[in-house]
Amino acid sequence: MITKWQNFRIPIREQRLYAGLLIALILLIGNVKAGVLVAPTVVFMDEHKRTGRITVQNPSDEPREVTIRMSFGLPTSDSLGNVFVNLQDSGITDIKAATSWVKPFPRKMLLQPGATQVVRFVARPPKNLVDGEYWARVVVTSQEGITSLPNPTGEGQISTVLNMIMQTAIMLKYRQGDQIAHVKLNSVDASHEDTLVSVIVDLSSTGNASYVGLMHCRLFNADKQEIGYRRFDLAVYHDLKRRVTFPVASYKSGSPYSFELYITPNGRKDIAAEYLIRGNEIEYSTIIP
């Protein structure tokens, strides 16, 4: 099923959500030595609202230097189905990259203990931008405001300290015109060793927006009993292979196994419904010989 994203609107309750969330996270993290909180984890902008924002807070009792930069990096995978995000600061050739025309303000700040700073993003997309979704990564880097050098305890001694620098890379999505989210299942390759069943699910996005949803994977034994369940947050931008593994006592004992896959745009708790582009569903099952 293909769903068009029409009349997309940005809800005005966004800011209250972030404020509440920040408070919850501060309570959860407690006292930390270094690092900052960043919310939300995805920034949405569109042709009607070309500005976005994130909130950065320093929950620690020391000042923190924070820098913001735009980068690019989509969830991609290797042939084994391992998913990773590689940040790319230059030489970006993806036509869906918004990195060059979205700017953050401010880009550098010194956050005092407990201080909060709103970082705004302004999009200046090129004219005649084709309908679709465009992407960038917002990289928030933080470190101690004043680097404390180690003090050798004796003359002629050598001491070392390694500064821990933190980077949080969150997704920014700019939406232009009508949006279509659709994912295609290319293949499912299952294999097994003695005590492990591995499945590589090969997917491609065929819409003009990223497909965001959930991937449910189930493994059944020869008696149709469910013996394994995995659930993943799924985001497909171009092509993606995801490896799913199920430990089993012994392959021979329960074979032939069967694998069931269900991909759905429903059920995501981390993104407000207003921002989700509802794409298609996929159901697939196979016997693992």
Binding site: R16, V85, D233
Partner: protein, 186 residues
């Protein structure tokens, strides 16, 4: 005449219904405003923090020093966010540490077993349970299946080794370790 009575009744019913809707509507709006931040979908944030630096302390010329990732002096990062979400972890590690004025450098290395990912998020290297995450893994190549623990926090412990030369200049050496974290499912 009978028709007119019916029309009047219908109008009264419609009026009452409209009045009821108008009376209820502000209440609904008020509830939205009052409880909006509590009932709306929570947009989970991502926080990466450092709770302890990797500290070798004082070392001696010509004597290498090693800190295991389960040592109390190991570096500790904490990642807090959406429970069970899969994350991409990348660590940029230095090849040397240097004096502040750059006049001397000292080699540092990280082996293929110098990191651990603790999905219980305990934050204490010495207290990691081997089955809760990944123990003794390569900090240059974190597992693609790394995730935030079910409690909403994952800790990363980092050890390493430094190699002071026999003529290593005395002083305080520093270097940077950069940890980058991103959700893979958004």
């Amino acid at each position: 005449m009978r028709l007119n009575v019916m029309n009047r009744s219908v109008k009264i019913i419609l009026f009452v219904a409209l009045a009821a809707v108008l009376a209820v509507a502000p209440v609904v709006n008020s509830q939205d405003v009052a409880t909006g931040s509590a009932t709306a979908t929570v947009l989970t944030a991502l926080a990466v923090t450092s709770t302890a630096a990797l500290v070798f302390g004082n070392v001696f010329q010509g004597v290498s020093a090693t800190i295991a990732n389960i040592n109390a002096a190991a570096g500790v990062y904490s990642i807090t966010g959406q429970a069970s979400a899969v994350i991409s972890i990348y660590m940029a590690l230095p090849e040397f540490v240097a004096l502040a004025d750059g006049s001397d450098k000292m080699t540092i290395s990280f082996s293929s077993t110098d990191a651990s990912v603790d999905t219980l998020g305990g934050g204490v290297p010495t207290g990691m349970v081997a089955t809760s995450g990944y123990q003794n893994i390569d900090p240059h190549n974190f597992p693609a299946a790394s995730n935030i623990g079910s409690g909403g926090t994952t800790s990363i412990y980092l050890g390493g080794k430094i190699y002071p030369t026999i003529d290593q200049a005395a002083g305080a050496y520093t270097g940077d370790i950069v940890l980058t974290v991103a959700y893979t499912g958004t």
